[in-house]
Subunit: 287 residues, 3 copies
């Protein structure tokens, strides 16, 4: 598979997804949206990929939508009057659907843990895209901004769903309503960034975290954890989590759990053999 | 419009809502409930208002329900046996509905950002009312208490919905179950207060934050951000956010977004002309 | 009532639930699951219990599932192929239901505040069990781990519902995906532990917090606060909270609220006489 705007590189279980338009500060395009969505969907089923690290080429992470294109800079077909009823099937509305949301919904569906390594400016879709990733590391040089109000538009990429789950309502509203650009330290203090690193250590630290997951945990467990956490936590009652968790423990306890428990009792490293491409339990997907 | 318990003052895009019963520590009454709900509804459509700052006259913010009235101090009609079925239409239950909830539901529906400037005691409804506001600043002299358990009643003003979204479940339960009074520093450490200020700087800082929003962002964007953030984040799946966000970006990209992008590319301040009274996109309200 | 794996001790309004298999680091068994679920259900209706403190005998809190049993170590009946449809009635699936979830669902239903005093290792079900408790204190010697991925299984005890509500999505995913063991300081920094204590002060501090609630607040208020906070905060719209809160204030305002307001005005301690066994308002349970 060939990509024009990103690079897909797998090394020893870790996929690096590189936003790769360095001469344009990795500004987001419709092509990049399609390629990113396809890459996350591919990685979800690729057993060679245990963990995904996303970063940017050059000095920016992603400077937002590429505003240099002609016509509607967001790639939207302006000659229509779409309604909320029509949007109930987003696939039927290609010229209306938010291109950022296509990417973050692909991340949401992904079976692999996703770590953002925010190496520089992450603005607009650059900021909202990382909200759908699981853990965010940032260089001390990173600058982040949910600038939608400043350019007269609205937040996207499902950020109005993801961001409050990460930083709570007050910090979400402060950043969104002000549209301000803030630095990595403020992003960490506010709960968006898990760890701020020196610029030269960012990727090292991101890979270290990815390796810790890849080397010590079971692939099927990781896939179940991601899906259960995002989906079950949004349920109205904990019994909904109980139903899914019961089946998840049931099936894994006679799958990778046999090896996991044996290895634990033997005080040795576990050797998990299940693959997410073929060995997800029969109740998956349960939704 | 005349008010007895509050003051409604608009200055250069910023509405100050002053709780104005200083001789009674701005204690909450049924009249204040009605006036506050009306004021937020009015401000929502008032194009002269870009941002709302709420504060208290004198040394208190709001010391809670006025307990000096005769009969049921909460203004409730005790001779009835209301059921949860009857409450499905709250408007039909005027003598039963919580008066604090009327205010916070009006804030929830409001199209304008709301900043609380907590100048002193904020207890009972004084504490729960601010949970529905978007960003909370407090004087170092502020004292806050969710004291419902101490007086044998229950939390109100939709605080059981708003508070956990701001500070998480553990801090919410600690403050609510203990009924304790805590100071501004603890409120900030727990995530309720965004910034603690010296008493004399509180309003200056609140207005500075309000001005930053009013001067740099589009009114329609602010309205969409508020409504999308509170509503979409409570959905079960991010695709629900995607549906609304897609339309929000679609319509704003051919509205204020044209000016916003042009101004950005020209490196000049944007001049947004849309008004929330008349220019909300056709899919609004989408619920 | 006799228990084999726990101790149930009530002293002056405070129930201590002691996990009591110290020679096995209080490892969790199916018997402990049944006894804990029964104890929380009993305490919920026991008017002698105002607040519950949960701690472990010996040096551990709970070291996880007892892996020394023969057959399926999680007590599951492996010869079946349960589906998500069958799990819609968890009671009908005794050999499939997660035993940890039985305990946390009993905690969820409980009318009494629950304080965890984490005295040592809290791993696996030891870690997830405390997520359903209201406030968590920990000894500086505590070590916590959501180790499910490391042994090839999946999170349980409704932790995928509770944990993100306490610490947010990023910290939840970090701990769950890594399966790492972390100390009390990290647990506090991440928001899971409310207060870290010297080992010898842990129970003293937990009882002090329990006593503050027991001595100063009304039992019916505590029960309503717990149920309203967990249930209303998971609703899609604040008006759902408003419906319940209105009734809660209505009925308590003519119950314990009379004494509470009178005591407040008289500047004396309140003497609340309502009991949760018999005096919950008529709309309870409202779900």
């Amino acid at each position: 598979m060939e990509y024009n705007t990103i690079k897909y590189t797998v090394d020893n279980g870790i996929l690096t997804l590189l936003l790769n338009r360095p001469d344009n500060m990795n500004a987001f395009t419709i092509e990049m949206s399609d390629e990113l969505a396809a890459a996350f969907t591919r990685a979800s089923e690729d057993d060679d990929v245990r963990v995904i690290v996303v970063t940017g080429a050059g000095r920016a992470f992603c400077a937002g939508m590429d505003l240099s294109t002609s016509g509607n800079v967001f790639g939207l077909h302006e000659n229509s009057e779409p309604t909320i009823e029509q949007m109930q099937d987003p696939d039927s509305m290609p010229g209306v659907r938010d291109s950022g949301g296509k990417v973050t919904l692909a991340i949401y569906e992904c079976k692999k843990p996703v770590i953002a390594a925010v190496n520089g400016a992450a603005v607009g879709i650059g900021a909202t895209m990382i909200c759908a990733m699981d853990i965010r590391l940032a260089s001390e040089k990173a600058r982040i901004g949910f600038v939608f109000g400043k350019i007269g538009i609205a937040p996207e990429a499902c950020s109005t769903w993801f961001l409050p789950r990460i930083v709570g309502m007050q910090q979400s509203l402060k950043w969104m309503l002000s549209g301000e650009i803030f630095d990595a330290q403020e992003a960490q203090a506010g709960g968006l960034i898990y760890e701020v690193c020196e610029a030269e250590s960012l990727l090292t630290n991101a890979y270290k975290m990815a390796r810790q997951i890849a080397d010590n945990t079971a692939p099927v467990s990781s896939a179940l954890i991601r899906q259960m956490m995002y989906r079950n936590s949004a349920a109205a009652h904990p019994v909904e989590a109980h139903k899914v968790e019961s089946l998840a423990v049931f099936y894994t306890s006679r799958g990778d759990g046999k090896e996991g428990v044996a290895a634990f009792l033997d005080k040795r490293a576990a050797n998990f053999e299940s693959k997410v491409s073929s060995d997800m339990p029969s109740f998956y997907p349960w939704w």
